[in-house]
Every structure is written in C-alpha cells, then in structure tokens.
C-alpha cells in the first residue's frame, strides 16, 4: 500500500492489497452494534451519581451518538467509493477528501478503542511488539487495530503538514 497526496491534494491510499482492503471495508462496522462490550468505552459516563447519569443519558449521550453517526456516515460513503483495479490480483485505492479527515480520525479511533477493549489487548500487543496470530478472531482484530493506527498516522501527518504551511 502506498500513501501519498492525490492530484487534488487529498490523502490517497493506493495499491491496497485485497486483504487490507477488506480491513478498510470493515471500517464500515458500527462499533456499538458489533462490539457491545468494547463500545462502552466510547462514550464514558461522567460519574456515578444517578441523577447526573440520567441527565447525561437523556441529554448528552444521544447528541454525541448522532455526531459520531454523522462522522461514520462520511467514512462509509468514502469506503463505498473505493476503486478496484483490474487484473488477476486487483489492488484497491481510497481517496479521502481533506474535509473528511477529522471524520476518519474519529471513526477509526472509535473502532480501535472498541476492538482493543473488546479483546482486552495489552500494551505490548498494541505497540506492534508481537505478531498477531491470524488464525484467531483476536489476532485478526489486532491486525485491524494496528492497520487503522497506521492509517491514522498517515492522516495526522497530512493535518500537521497543513498546520505547518498555515503557520
């Protein structure tokens, strides 16, 4: 997979291997639906006091969820627009408009958090020190978390470059 800027100046992941393209497509998953345990970390309640919790559940949480869902919708639409090359082992490409970068960072972060919490990954596993056992769901999830981290790094790099140019 190659990361660069497209002719439009947008982040572009090209020559994406079908296996990694599958991981990108898995980014369409709704963490609340797929990782019920892990997703509890995404919108942590502000405390334990019952009244406060009730207010938070009624007035704050729905808004946060709506915001998250609208960010995720952007990501889903970008993923649906991924292009596949021709040939025996067709590679994929994904262009992310600059104005969608924040939505991608939010969505990938939420998925990583939910996956990491669901599978109780250790710091060592998350810091790439051990290679995942891809014969298990846990190993595949770790590969997914690490791959999303890489995508985030690429997008953050472009945001930082923009900031540097702005200064």
């Amino acid at each position: 997979m190659i990361f660069e800027l497209s002719k439009n100046g947008d982040p572009l992941f090209s020559r994406i291997h079908p296996l990694l393209a599958g991981l990108v497509h898995a980014g369409m998953e709704d963490p609340w639906e797929h990782y019920p345990e892990g997703s509890t970390r995404l919108l942590p309640p502000p405390g334990k006091e019952e009244e406060l919790l009730e207010d938070w559940r009624d007035h704050v949480q729905p808004g946060l969820r709506r915001h998250f869902d609208s960010e995720r919708a952007i990501v889903v639409a970008d993923i649906a627009g991924m292009k596949q090359g021709k040939g025996r082992s067709p590679l994929w490409s994904l262009e992310i408009p600059n104005k969608h970068r924040e939505a991608w960072l939010t969505t990938l972060n939420a998925l990583r958090l939910a996956l990491a919490c669901e599978h109780c990954f250790t710091e060592e596993e998350l810091s790439h020190k051990s290679s995942p056992d891809l014969s298990t769901g846990r190993g595949l999830a770790l590969m997914q978390v690490n791959f999303y981290a890489f995508m985030q790094e690429c997008l953050i790099q472009t945001l930082e470059q923009d900031r540097n140019i702005g200064e």
């Binding site: 296996l19 393209a21 599958g22 889903v76 649906a80 969608h100 056992d133 014969s135 769901g137």
Partner: protein, 196 residues
C-alpha cells in the same frame, strides 16, 4: 517418530525464535508441536508454516506424553502443492473461523479423521469460491453431526454453542462481512446521510 497428514490451524510465538504450531491431523487429531528457531533466517521450516497449509508432517512425541505432556517436537514438514488461499479478508476470516471451530472442538491426540476431511473440503472450497452464508452453515451442520450434537429442530450453531458455551466471535464478523459483500450499501442505510 509419528507421521500424519495435517492442516496448520494455529501458530503462535513460544519464545523469541520459537513457535508453537497447532495442526489438525488425519490420524492423531489435534497435535501441538514446538518448532525451535523457526523464525531464524535459514530455518529448514522457513516458508513451510503458513496458516491453513496442508502438509505431511513428522513429529517426535513429547517424552512426557504418558504423563499428559502434549507439546511435541516438529521434525519435518512437506507441504502439498495446493495453491494458497485467495488473500482476501473475507477468505481469511472464513478460514480462521473454521480453524477456530476445529481447535475448539478437538482434543489433542484424539483422532477425528472425518473432521480433518471436513476442514480440508472447506479449504478447497475457499480456494475456489467466495465464502457464503450457506458454506458457513454447511460447515457448522457437518461439525455438529460429527460431534453427535446435531438437533434438526435448532440451528447447528446453537447446538455447537451449547456444547462450547460460546462460539468464536469471528462468526458474527464473518457473517456480517458476507452480508456486506452481497449488499455493500446495507450499512449505509442504517445511518444518517453524509454531510459535506
């Protein structure tokens, strides 16, 4: 020395350079083997211990086998000439799910040749075709039948879950991916319109 035809189910690190490799064999059931220096350059096993590979293997039984030790020493691997699985996420998820089920429902050194044949057929299928919900159901039904837990009144995965307490979580991800492949805009319907 013991010999068997085997499919590589799992592979994980044992020490810095060593691996534990778990096989499903035709004649010994599940076999766990240690492979020293497997990750070192020039290892005789280099390139032969890929997941879901089918091979003829030879292993030295653990000295403590009589006392219950089940980690044997792998001494030889001759890989069959089968082509590799298509390298897509969906195929990897399917193969992983089937392998996890085989791992979950087998005992070490307890022969289940029918299960070996079932996994072998499943991998042949995955080499040629895209995974489908029907293929997953078929595998689960056959597995339930082989284990003697099939109840025609309930779906096979429920029978299996009743025995194992919980099925691998890969199942729901796999079925979801299969569904998404059939209908790529499915998940978009459930959420709000994109902005911008």
């Amino acid at each position: 020395m013991e010999e068997a035809r085997a499919i590589l189910l799992r592979r994980y690190r044992f020490s810095e350079n060593s691996l534990v490799v778990v096989w499903l064999t035709d004649s010994h059931g599940k076999v766990k083997t240690s492979v020293r220096s497997a990750t070192k350059q020039g290892s005789p096993f280099a390139g032969r211990l890929e997941l879901f590979t089918e091979a003829e293997i030879a292993f030295r039984p653990s000295r403590g086998a009589k006392g219950g030790g089940d980690l044997h020493t792998l001494s030889e691997v001759v890989v069959t000439g089968d082509p590799a699985l298509p390298s897509t996420y969906l195929t990897l998820l399917s193969a992983s799910y089937f392998a996890e089920l085989c791992d979950l429902f087998t005992e070490t050194m307890h022969p289940m040749p029918e299960l070996f044949a079932l996994l072998r057929r499943a991998l042949v299928f995955l080499r040629e075709k895209q995974p489908s919900g029907r293929a997953v159901e078929h595998f689960e039904r056959e597995l339930a039948r082989l284990l003697g837990v099939q109840d025609p009144a309930i779906p096979s995965h429920r029978s299996l879950a009743a025995v194992a307490h919980k099925l691998p979580e890969t199942r729901s991800r796999l079925l979801d991916q299969i569904e998404r492949t059939k209908n790529p805009i499915l998940s978009e319907d459930r959420i709000a319109e994109p902005r911008g």
